[in-house]
């Protein structure tokens, strides 16, 4: 797998690919001047510049070491609470993301058939002109709702939404329904917030359900869990695989997929029936305990044992231990429990478990939003009124899913079916629906229904490969983004080198496109720096100061003690949700039987590895160098019984499709499951490092949507495995 090119060599190669422009490129003169002024860079343009990582959405603070205008090393920024001076392997590899020889360096316009990968270079003027013409033509012909906009959580998302709202389309796709809708919607129903903050410093007992923090790394949270384990905290990990997190846990429970709800219902049963809950907290701060007490009695540990395959004694013991550790006990609500259609209720049970031990203001705290007062913004005219209903069924089919989150897989299916109306264009920024949505075959068919597709990315990702126009973004080390609030500070992402080729920031792209669409009034900033200056205006701090320091302190909020309140209908933590009950869903969590694989079938599991983020980092040569081959895990005893051996090539088949891949025979998985490293099996031959590696889980995933949260039931796909 490893190429024999040295890093120095491929830096040269990327320079050659970029043409003469990219060779020996230094900081933009003004940036270099300002950085030198503040002592960040010396006369030779060498030194450290603070900015923010974007190898995942955790966004650690970083210090970029620059030598004569090149980034040569990234360090974690000790001033940033997400990094605390550390970076994970993806963060460390970040400069290879910028210096990837496969970077798209100019706007590209398709000349071959879709998916053929034939493009010609174009100027920004021409490419943006083509995009604007197509978007205007679709708007005139079919109305603005015929244009889909989709993007993934990012710092320029507000300006993306600005473009979407100004254009007037209701059809907005994010990645969230493919990730953690169940968690977010259940927290909204229970706590009135998307995700409470967690604190590990005082914990004595943690239950991790589908939260593989040692491989799905969020640097500061991974570090906090590690420190807690070092202190001697008890960790119970529920996972059908022996993950690297399970290996660090005190106790690993190889629970049957889809039955986490039964386990947590039984914990609630023991804690309620044995009166182990924090009664003063429950009576003061929660609503609907009586209704839970009434319905939970049926869910005994003995009942759950048969479903989860975890002994009743173990469940009872864990419930007692958890309650005994109160309030220093936390059930992590996880992200990837949105694996079955019952995952919403699983998340509700977890949220209620936390409420019963009264860990508020001990382990869980009010969420600190990324959108805070204190920062300014460019003036914003009001948006046109949108009358068309959303294609993804929010809220008419999914009343509880927030508009900003949506149900992306439904949006894709509506684009394909043409119901309730046909979409004709798709505007995609820094997102790869060809890989991220379940059932890739259907996604490619949906692309086929589009008159026009445009993708903004730094690489020729798989969706860009099927697009009509590809617009090159500047990488996160090459551009500004709007300021990002973390705690009581706003942090800056700033260019530490000049963009490779003709890459441009999203702030610039949206504004220029907006102007061509006749929406210039919505983008009232002269350039990226002006945008940040307008954000900083109310604080009276100069952009140069923030660029030097890496952040700005925000005005302190009142620290006076106030009784905790929650933005729920009752103003309390809702154990019983009247909102859910009114929607004809269970007001307190109830058991919902998930489907099970037929004889000869396996549960198909996915889950992160430490070196990769979703679908975007597999082409990074440094991560490629230090990651394991993506193979299909199968339990050793199962493999033996099927006559399969390690490294055998196999065909994996689901209702959605089939893939070919090699086996990894291991002890670290349940005998009834197989596991596929996600994010491989790329279609784009523009990804020369990643192309041809592994298999695509999306080819196998069947689309199942949780009716309450709109989350994709990612593990509700069953497969057969046979030798080829």
């Amino acid at each position: 797998m490893p190429s024999s090119i040295s890093r120095r060599d491929f830096l040269k190669i990327s320079g050659v690919a970029a043409g003469a422009l990219a060779l020996g490129k230094f900081l933009p003169p003004r940036a270099a001047e300002a950085a030198r002024l503040y002592g960040l860079l010396d006369a030779a343009s060498s030194g450290y510049i603070p900015s923010m990582c974007e190898m995942c959405v955790w966004r650690c603070g970083l210090l970029a070491k620059v030598e004569t205008g090149r980034v040569v090393k990234l360090e974690g920024n000790p001033d940033h609470p997400h990094s605390n001076g550390k970076l994970c392997p993806r963060g460390q590899s970040g400069l290879m993301n910028t210096y990837d020889p496969d970077r798209v360096l100019t706007p590209l316009v398709r000349v071959g058939k879709r998916g053929e990968g034939k493009f010609r270079k174009a100027s920004w003027d021409e490419a943006l002109g083509i995009v604007a013409d197509n978007m205007l033509s679709i708007k005139n012909k079919y109305g603005p709702e015929a244009m889909i906009f989709s993007t993934t959580h990012c710092l320029s998302q507000f300006q993306f939404e600005n473009l979407l709202n100004a254009y007037g389309s209701p059809n907005y796709g994010t990645q969230r329904s493919l990730c953690f809708n169940a968690m977010i919607v259940s927290n909204l129903m229970t706590y009135g917030m998307e995700e409470p903050n967690r604190d590990y410093s005082q914990l004595k007992y943690i239950i991790l359900t589908g939260r593989n923090l040692m491989e799905a790394i969020s640097t500061s949270e991974t570090s906090a869990l590690s420190k807690a384990i070092d202190r001697g905290v008890k960790v119970v990990a529920l996972d059908p695989r022996f993950t690297k997190t399970a290996a660090k846990a005190t106790e690993w429970l190889a629970i049957r997929p889809g039955t986490d709800l039964a386990f947590h219902l039984a914990l609630l049963n023991v804690i309620v029936s044995e009166h182990l809950y924090n009664a003063p907290f429950v009576s003061s701060y929660t609503d609907g305990f009586d209704k839970l007490a009434g319905s939970i009695s049926q869910y005994t540990p003995e009942w759950a044992a048969g479903i989860t395959e975890i002994p009743a004694d173990t469940i009872r013991r864990i419930a007692r231990e958890f309650a005994a550790a109160a309030p220093y006990a936390m059930a992590h609500n996880g992200w990837r429990t949105s694996n079955f259609v019952n995952s919403f209720q699983t998340e509700r049970a977890i949220a209620i478990l936390n409420a019963l031990v009264g860990n508020w203001n001990v382990a869980m705290f009010p969420a600190s939003g990324e959108e805070s007062s204190g920062l300014g913004a460019p003036p914003q005219p009001s948006y046109p009124r949108i009358s068309a209903q959303r294609l993804d069924g929010v809220p008419w089919k999914y009343p509880f899913v927030p508009l900003k989150i949506g149900v992306f897989q439904e949006l894709r299916d509506a684009a394909l079916s043409g119901m309730p109306y046909q979409a004709h264009g798709w505007f995609i920024s820094r997102q790869n629906p060809a890989m991220s949505l379940p059932d890739r075959g259907r996604t490619l068919q949906a692309f086929g229904k589009m008159d026009f597709i445009v993708t903004i990315d730094i690489l020729m990702n798989d969706t860009a490969w099927f697009s009509d126009v590809v617009l090159p973004e500047a990488s996160y080390l090459e551009r500004y983004d709007p300021l990002n609030i973390v705690g009581d500070k706003a942090f800056i992402r700033q260019p530490v080198i000049e963009p490779q080729g003709e890459g441009k920031s999203s702030l610039w792209i949206y504004k220029e496109l907006g102007k061509l669409l006749g929406l210039g009034d919505y983008f009232q900033y002269a350039d990226d720096e002006d945008y940040l200056k307008q954000q900083l205006a109310p604080l009276g701090v100069s952009l140069d100061d923030v660029r030097q320091k890496g952040y700005v302190d925000l005005p302190a909020e009142s620290t006076e003690f106030s009784e905790p309140t929650w933005s729920t209908p009752s103003g309390k933590i809702e154990i019983f949700s009247s909102t859910l009950a009114q929607g004809n869903f269970a007001g307190v969590p109830q058991w919902e039987e998930p489907p099970v694989p037929a004889a000869g079938q396996f549960y198909l599991l996915t889950g992160k590895v430490a070196q990769f983020t979703q679908f975007g980092t597999q082409n990074n040569q440094l991560l490629h160098k230090y990651s394991d081959d993506p193979r299909l895990w199968i339990n050793a005893a199962t493999a033996k019984s099927l006559g399969l051996a390690d490294n055998d090539p196999v065909e994996v088949t689901s209702d959605a499709g089939k893939v070919h891949i090699r086996l990894q025979v291991t002890q670290a998985i349940r005998p009834d499951c197989v596991y596929l490293t996600p994010g491989f099996g790329h279609l784009s031959r523009g990804l020369t490092t990643a192309y041809g590696l592994g298999a695509c889980d999306s080819d196998l995933h069947v689309t199942y949507t949780d009716p309450i949260s709109g989350g994709q039931a990612l593990s509700q796909t069953f497969v057969t495995v046979k030798k080829i």
Binding site: S4, R7, L95
Partner: protein, 263 residues
């Protein structure tokens, strides 16, 4: 960060999550070729049978021994041991003999078979990042470790810290600090929850391998001289015996020979 008189690491296998941030950081910091590395993840990885399992991984790189065998074995002085603990290697002096590879009990120095004599830089190994520690920064691997499985500091302090960790959690650790005495002491101190051999480490005594080899080497010259003397004496003896034999066997001829020689 303060500078230390004896720079050293603790690697704590109970904290390592095998994320490989150290490997990427090292590769970038030291500009390592894409098909090379100075750090390996060693150890058995997964151990046991489903569902009773354990994992063990180790960040494996140069131990920076107090008495480095590589340095001792190098015939051209390409290695040196800095007073503050670093074992460094000078590529310019290396002749590619690979004695250091054979000498290192940890198998750390590795040879670049892709390169020929002319290109030089045959051997590579971890340097402890002198370019960083000399300006008060931690080595790249340590600085980025998200779980503090690697920590850096003064060796004497770290030895105490390592023992304190074992004392605080005797149930968690094997009761031994690997590298405290192994091979005469190393700058890389290792704590583990599994036997050290399962991390891929050799079982070594406290007497440095180098001391044994150098002791042996002390006899080389006397031995060579002695053996030479024995061989010389043997040769001379054999010659004399032969002469005697010939003299006894052919007295008449020999008697005539001087006359012939004279001719």
């Amino acid at each position: 960060m303060t500078k230390f008189t004896q720079n050293a690491f603790i690697f704590d296998a109970t904290r390592c999550i095998d994320c490989r941030a150290c490997m990427v950081a090292c590769s970038v910091e030291n500009n390592i070729a894409m098909d090379k590395t100075r750090i390996w993840v060693a150890g058995i990885g997964l151990k046991g049978e489903y569902p009773r399992l354990e994992r063990a991984s180790m960040v494996y790189h140069c131990m920076h021994c107090a008495a480095p065998d590589c340095l001792s074995a190098c015939p051209v002085g390409a290695y040196n041991k800095r007073d503050d603990g670093l074992v460094l290697y000078n590529a310019k002096k290396c002749i590619g003999c690979r004695y250091c590879m054979n000498a290192c009990p940890f198998g750390v120095p590795h040879f670049d078979f892709d390169k020929g004599l002319i290109e030089g830089a045959f051997i590579d190994k971890c340097t402890m990042c002198p370019q960083r520690i000399d300006i008060g920064l931690e080595p790249a691997c340590v600085a980025t470790c998200p779980t503090d499985a690697l920590v850096f500091g003064e060796r004497a302090d770290l030895v105490k810290e390592a023992h304190a960790r074992i004392q605080a959690h005797p149930d968690r650790y094997v009761d031994h600090v690997y590298g405290e005495t192994e091979n005469g002491g190393t700058s890389y101190l290792i704590l583990s929850h599994v036997p050290f051999t399962e991390l891929g480490l050799p079982a070594l005594g406290s007497l440095p391998v180098k001391d044994v080899s150098e002791k042996v080497m002390e006899f080389t010259i006397p031995f060579a001289l002695g053996w030479g003397a024995v061989l010389t004496a043997t040769a001379v003896g054999v010659h004399l015996v032969n002469q005697k034999k010939e003299a006894n066997a052919k007295p008449p001829v020999e008697a005539e020979e001087p006359a012939e020689v004279k001719k």
